[in-house]
Symmetry: C2
Subunit: 316 residues, 2 copies
């Protein structure tokens, strides 16, 4: 008899990480957690909300948090100051700041700011250094393999959710935990869809990456052109992840097979929830934000241990 | 009375660098220069010619050179092998290999290969780490400011040519050697025009960057939208650098004021040479390739000193 669909609350996934952080700060760091500085350089309401929300979560878990509001013309300098300041252990910028305005560098100014954050302080794991290592499946900062790279927060949150749902098979060796799994990701942004595809492919999955114009198969660091339609790819997938940033997009439910894990990472609901919950065996995660913040804290602690603690300790 | 135009031979600029390298290898390194590995992964005739040409120059100057021909499917692995090999001190890939084929990473596969080269071995100075430092005007690899970053070879060759022609004013402090100079660059590629604009702007110049669709002013790390036409920008420039990769493009000579330095960095001649030489005081550099190769050798030596010599020596 088939199982009913279930809905998974991100809080259940985030809670153990948050609790472990709190306990670690209390016992190992004697109550003085690392310091995260957030930069707000816009009038964007949702950026401000995200800033308040990350700040509260950090303080709750024992992390020192300071929000610095700067005019965008001063942002780059302010980030460089924080890069150099030994009292700052992590830096987070709330985008968008410049929107699509181009930079000297070639990409947008926001891309440039993102790449300007020191690798010792990039809690989002999205600067060029960590991106480059992620795509090349280089998992350590150092040749001795003692200091792990940080990974981008939202994709890492999805990994932790998939671990929580036992999609990861830890009986298989490292790099093969997702062997035999097919995963469709409807989003190929440089912030979420693409790094997530890389991480899941690095762990052995076949990842179908869907955007508005194309479908690629990512497998172990290689991009493979494929002839399936997005519908065919989704139907044979164990996991479907949607990240379409428009209110009008809804995942066609004919694409979802019984027993599929469906994760909505977009700020809009990409799924007709009531109808989805009629499909037997589906596991549905409507929101991932709380896990993302937990991963941000985790990245902060990893950076703190890699680059600030002497002697270094190994947390998680 | 106005001076006649003169034509400058790149060999004259390159020769002292080449001679210094040869002498340094002979005396300081007892004849055993660092080892450069070139990767050829295509059937492109001009790539093969460039490979032969760099190889000959290296051997002439005491650098050990090995050309490795690999199928492009094996290129990434071969580059990673060379990254790890302590006997290899520099890596050079002859592009194009994959052309415009996209990578997992987001850019092209050629971009991805470029970014995969270790910062300890990237003689072209074009991997993301050195690019990022260049655009942020970070001139050293280390916090102690003892190990200088390498800079991309072709843009660096232009700098050396401008130094040779006394456009640089070394009476002014570092970062201001080009203060008061206006320079127009007709090319905004990620390989030549854009990093060159950054380097010249880092040294204090106002740089007009022209491409087919737009004109920007680059000044000290900032991109400024401007209202001049390319003709107006060129006319008031002390230096015009052309890098248009098509045979049909010719720089309109009405854009060139008396006394201008004109440098052709394209493989095609972007200038009607006979007519240009009629403009009084013009200094014209028709080819830069020999200086580029000298800079490649110089980068190799800098990487060797930064990351391989113990105790480190300071060469140049």
């Amino acid at each position: 008899m088939s199982q009913p669909a279930v809905k998974i609350n991100a809080s259940d996934v985030a809670a153990p990480f948050s609790a472990a952080m709190k306990e670690y700060v209390r016992t190992e760091l004697r109550g003085i957690g690392p310091k995260l500085v957030g930069f707000l350089a816009n009038d964007d309401d949702s950026a401000r909300k995200y800033a308040e929300w990350t700040g509260k979560a950090c303080v709750r878990d024992g992390i020192r948090y300071e929000l610095r509001e700067v005019p965008k013309e001063r942002l780059q300098e302010a980030v460089e100051d924080a890069n150099r300041d030994p009292e700052v252990h992590g830096i987070l910028v709330y985008y968008p700041c410049f929107g699509t305005f181009p930079s000297f560098y070639g990409g947008t100014m926001d891309d440039f700011i993102r790449d300007s954050i020191s690798i010792k302080k990039d809690v989002e794991g999205l600067c060029q250094y960590y991106r480059g290592n992620l795509y090349r499946n280089i998992r350590y900062v150092d040749d001795e393999r003692t200091q792990k790279c940080v990974l981008p927060c939202t994709p890492l949150a999805i990994v932790k959710i998939l671990e929580h749902l036992n999609v990861y098979n830890f009986a298989q060796p490292e790099g093969e935990h997702l062997l035999g799994k097919r995963i469709t990701i409807i989003n190929r942004s440089d912030i979420v869809g693409r790094p997530l595809a890389a991480m899941l492919a690095n762990d052995g999955a076949d990842v179908y990456s869907v955007d508005i114009n194309s479908l690629y198969l990512f497998r172990r660091g290689k991009l493979i052109e494929c002839t399936e339609t997005p519908e065919e790819a989704a139907k044979k997938s164990d996991v479907i992840i949607t990240g379409v940033p428009v209110a009008s997009y809804k995942l066609p439910l004919s694409w979802v097979s019984e027993g599929t894990v469906v994760i909505n990472v977009a700020s809009h609901k990409n799924v007709d929830e009531a109808a989805l919950m009629q499909i037997p065996g589906v596991k549905y995660v409507p929101l991932v934000g709380k896990v993302t913040v937990a991963m941000l804290e985790r990245n902060l602690m990893r950076l703190y241990e890699n680059f600030h603690m002497k002697p270094r300790k190994m947390w998680q």
